[in-house]
Each structure stands twice: as structure tokens, then as C-alpha cells.
Symmetry: C2
Subunit: 301 residues, 2 copies
């Protein structure tokens, strides 16, 4: 199974258009950027699955030769799996609307409901090539397949993780808004655990991550009050449903105990000090055996 | 008045994710790209107005120093003006949602209606910093202003131009779906005519463009059957509401007669042969006195 981190940043990316923090200023000055959260994986290196559809999907696909079209119109992307309904994980569907064929989009029921109402993205896209919504049942392995139903060689189990609904979700809405995924190569049995947003390292996370060959985990914030410290009137990391990486009870302490062969932080917010090479927070993460994810990182499981 | 072409491409950009045409292949091989249609302008070089909100707005703002935030959170972007409701001219609003303050968004009534239903983007964004919708009345000069109502030094007159509603618009919907803009520097009297999509060079276009210092005009397609020739099952350019650049009655023949001091083609589709440097179509356009727009082109009017 091949895995590529297409985008390693949280919503807004790095630099974020309206942010003048040290990391965003540095990224602008260097002309460097981290794009918004998405991963590509493939069992055969030919047919690819996107995990989440980033607003940066156009640039992300252009940057990886294996994701280029092989003919006049077409794409090696065969399906998309959504872990939540956040704008930064779903907006890319609107950018993949030209087809040539409807794109199978797997999502848990709570997320599918959000993309019907209040944000009718799926209906909007019917005027174009459209998407084919497919339900991702909870806790049950599904063989991911292309539009024709041909299996892509990867089974996917979604487990609800602690997280908050998107800000645009109606307050009264119930349902699971965020899942983690365990993706298993049906031939080799290698497992990718993908949990880009999580409010805790709990039983759900353990179930997804235990014994995986690669765990990609929520690295949004280093500390609970990070956004406020950056001068933004905002909730805390925990209030937003993100377990901080640093400090007592942070993921840097908890993740190494999960037994994943390798753990890489993704969905990193522009304010997170682990972005600073040579900084103490990054050193702490690396000393714990974790890797700070980068756009374009590739893994062969 | 300063004018920057932020994005010179039509929807999808160049390369387009699913397109294997010669121009997209070339762009991928060179690591070059044209981003999707948008323009920035400013009367004072400090406070900026975006004409259309491209899905690539994040990268577009990061690429221009004058559009960087000046402090911890903020932006020199003071307002957005929409010329139509196409996904590629409006999706960027979702990417500008973090604030710190609501963004004034000027739009003609037909476009404002589309962003309420069937595509409730404005409602969705209320959960974030939100936008402040402002009506762009037809044929009447409006002094563009920031959120506090302070004039930005530019007056804007919108005139409905021949074009088709977006594909997602309900068939029965009436109203003006596309306008051209005449933007006048209130101090110097210099005029920018901005018509990124137009099905004809008619009285409406003449009214906007006559005597302007700069005309940015629809350069989507070279020929009517261009998409089909590229192997795509698609309507013709005229059926999509775009006057082709080439051939008898094409814009390359008609635009030079409008009396604009300078005319630049924008909103260029990836299939358009004017993208090929040294090609005969580009030579024809240049011989007619027109310029092929590029990302990052700047003009001081």
C-alpha cells in the first residue's frame, strides 16, 4: 500500500491568508506552503483513493505525477473517503466536479447528512459530473470500490472519534461527525490508521491505531490556549475538539503507547510551534518518536 | 489605481486536475500553473478590492506582498465584488471565512439569489466571520466601501452582459447572472473595464469598455468547438455563453474597435491555443493588439 500526505496543514493552510504569525510570515518569505489536510493511498500504485477533499486538491494532484491523468480526460483518483464535514475536508469535492464520471464519495451518516443540509454540496454537484454518495457504516469493514463496483484492494473501517461538529452544523443535530479510519491492504494486510481530528486518545483511537503500520494523527495544536496566545479571539483546542500535542496528557505522551509502527502528525495548524525546525516543541515531539508530517511525504507499507 | 491579475485561468485552472491536453501536460512538466480567475485593485495601494473570489485565493494572496496581513490577524482586502455566481468565481468566499471581520461582498441581485438558494454559501458562512452582502444595482455607479462604510476611492458600475446562468442554477430562475464592471478611480478618473465572461461584444460591453484605460475581457475559448476537439463531451463555447476569441466575429476582431487603451484577455481555459507561446493563435491575438493575461500581471492606471 502506498500512502502520500498530500496536505499536512489544518484548515487555512500555512500561510493562512489572514494570519501574520511567525510561521505564516516565515512561509511567505520563503515562498513555501503547507496545503490543507488530505492523504492519497493506493493498493496497486495505479488506482488512488483520496482521504478527504482539500480546497487545495488541484495543486495537490498537480504536484504528484502518479495522480496525473493518463489520457485526454481522466484521473487515477477512483474514490474519496471523508472523515468529517469540515469545510477544509470537503470543499475539494466542488473542485473535482468536472468528471468525466461521478466520483464515489464514502462518508459516515452524520457527515452525509451535513452535505445534504445545511450545506447541499452533493445536490449542487449533480449539475456537473456529480458524486456518488456511499455510506460508511460504523465499525464495519467496507471494501472500497470504484464507480463500477470493482474493489480497489483496500478495506476501510470507520470508528467515531471524540470531536465536535463543524461550526456550520445546526446545534440540535445529532450523529457522528468525525471518524477515524483503519485502512487495510487486502493483499498484504498492512494497515494505515488515519485520524486527522481527535479530541482524545481513547478506546476508539486505540481500536483504529493498535498495531497499525502507520498512524497519521491530529497534530492541529501544541497547547490548549494557542490560538488566543496568537492574538485570535477563539475557543481553546479542546473546545474545538482537538487534543493538544504538548503538555501533560497531550498526544506526544499518549501516542507512543498505541503500538503503531510509525506515527506522523498531520492537520497541523499554522500557529503550532512544532512547525519551527530546531525549536524545543519539535525536539520534544521527535524525542517521543513522532514525526512532523510534511506535504509530499510518501510511505510504502 | 493599481490592478493585479491574481488568476488568469478559467474554472479548473491550468493544469486542470482531470485534463491531459497539451497545455496541461506542459504546465505539469514545468511545474507552472495559472490559477483561477480573480483580480485585485486598489485606489491607494493599501486597501484592496477583490474582483471575484477564486478557489485559489489562498495561494493568490500569498503570492503578492501587498496582500499580506500587516499584523497578527488581518488583511488588506476590504471588499469583494462578484460578477457572476460560477463556482470558480465564488468558492473563495468559503476560504476567506476566518475573518477577523465580516467581508463586504457586492453582487448583482441574480447572483445574490443563487448564493442563497440553491447554494446557501452566505448562510453557511454566518457560522464563521461571515460576509456582508451588498447589492450591486444595475447600471448605477456605487462607491465601494469597507465594512465601516468608509469609501475605498473606487466607484463601480455593473452592467448585465450576455452570458448563461451557472449549470447549478434552477432552469426556471430569471435575473441577471453575469455583469461586467466599470471601475473608476474617483480621484484620477482612470477606468478599469472588467468583463471576465461575455457571450458577445454588444452594447452592454461597449458601454462598460468604451474609453477605458484597461479592459480585461473573456478569453475562455479560441473556437466554438474547442472542448469537443479536446475529447470532452461538452457544449460549444457559445452554448456556454462565451464568445470565442478566434475566427470570424471572434473577440480578437471586435475588441480592438472598442477604444480601450489596453486590452488583456483573462479567464483563459486550459484548452485555449493562445496559451502556446509562438503558436499562430497567440500571434494573431498579439497582432490584433491584445495581450494574453498572466497571473501576477500588474497595471498602474
Amino acid at each position: 500500500m502506498r500512502v502520500i500526505i498530500l496536505g499536512s496543514a489544518a484548515g487555512g493552510g500555512v500561510p493562512q491568508w489572514n494570519c501574520g504569525c511567525e510561521h505564516c510570515r516565515d512561509a511567505r518569505a520563503r515562498g513555501a506552503s503547507r496545503t490543507q489536510s488530505s492523504v492519497a493511498l493506493s493498493a496497486d500504485g495505479e488506482r488512488w483513493i483520496l482521504l478527504n477533499a482539500s480546497p487545495d486538491v488541484g495543486a495537490q494532484l498537480a504536484a504528484r505525477r502518479v495522480l496525473w491523468p493518463r489520457n485526454a480526460r481522466g484521473t487515477p483518483v477512483r474514490a474519496v473517503v471523508l472523515t468529517d464535514g469540515e469545510i477544509d475536508h470537503t470543499l475539494g469535492l466542488a473542485l473535482l466536479r468536472e468528471g468525466p464520471a461521478p466520483l464515489p464519495v464514502y462518508a459516515p451518516s452524520g457527515v452525509a447528512a451535513l452535505l445534504d443540509e445545511p450545506w447541499p454540496l452533493v445536490r449542487l454537484l449533480r449539475a456537473y459530473a456529480g458524486v456518488e454518495p456511499r455510506l460508511l457504516p460504523e465499525g464495519q469493514a467496507v471494501a472500497l470500490a470504484d464507480l463500477a463496483g470493482t474493489p480497489l484492494g483496500i478495506s476501510c473501517t470507520a470508528v467515531a472519534v471524540a470531536h465536535h461538529p463543524p461550526r456550520y452544523a445546526p446545534a440540535a443535530r445529532a450523529g457522528s461527525f468525525a471518524v477515524g479510519l483503519r485502512l487495510v491492504d487486502e493483499r498484504g494486510g498492512r494497515a494505515l490508521a488515519y485520524i486527522p481530528t481527535a479530541g482524545a486518545v481513547d478506546d476508539a483511537v486505540r481500536r483504529i491505531a493498535a498495531g497499525s503500520d502507520l498512524l497519521l494523527f491530529d497534530g492541529t495544536f501544541w497547547s490548549d490556549g494557542e490560538l488566543r496566545a496568537a492574538g485570535v479571539a477563539a475557543p481553546t483546542a479542546r473546545e474545538m475538539g482537538h487534543l493538544p500535542v504538548g503538555g501533560a496528557g497531550g498526544s506526544a505522551t499518549l501516542l507512543p503507547r498505541l503500538g503503531a509502527k510509525r506515527t506522523v502528525l498531520v492537520h497541523i495548524n499554522n500557529t503550532n510551534p512544532i512547525l519551527r525546525r530546531g525549536g524545543p516543541e519539535r525536539a520534544e515531539v521527535e524525542a517521543a518518536g513522532l514525526t512532523v508530517g510534511e506535504d509530499g511525504m510518501e510511505f510504502e507499507l
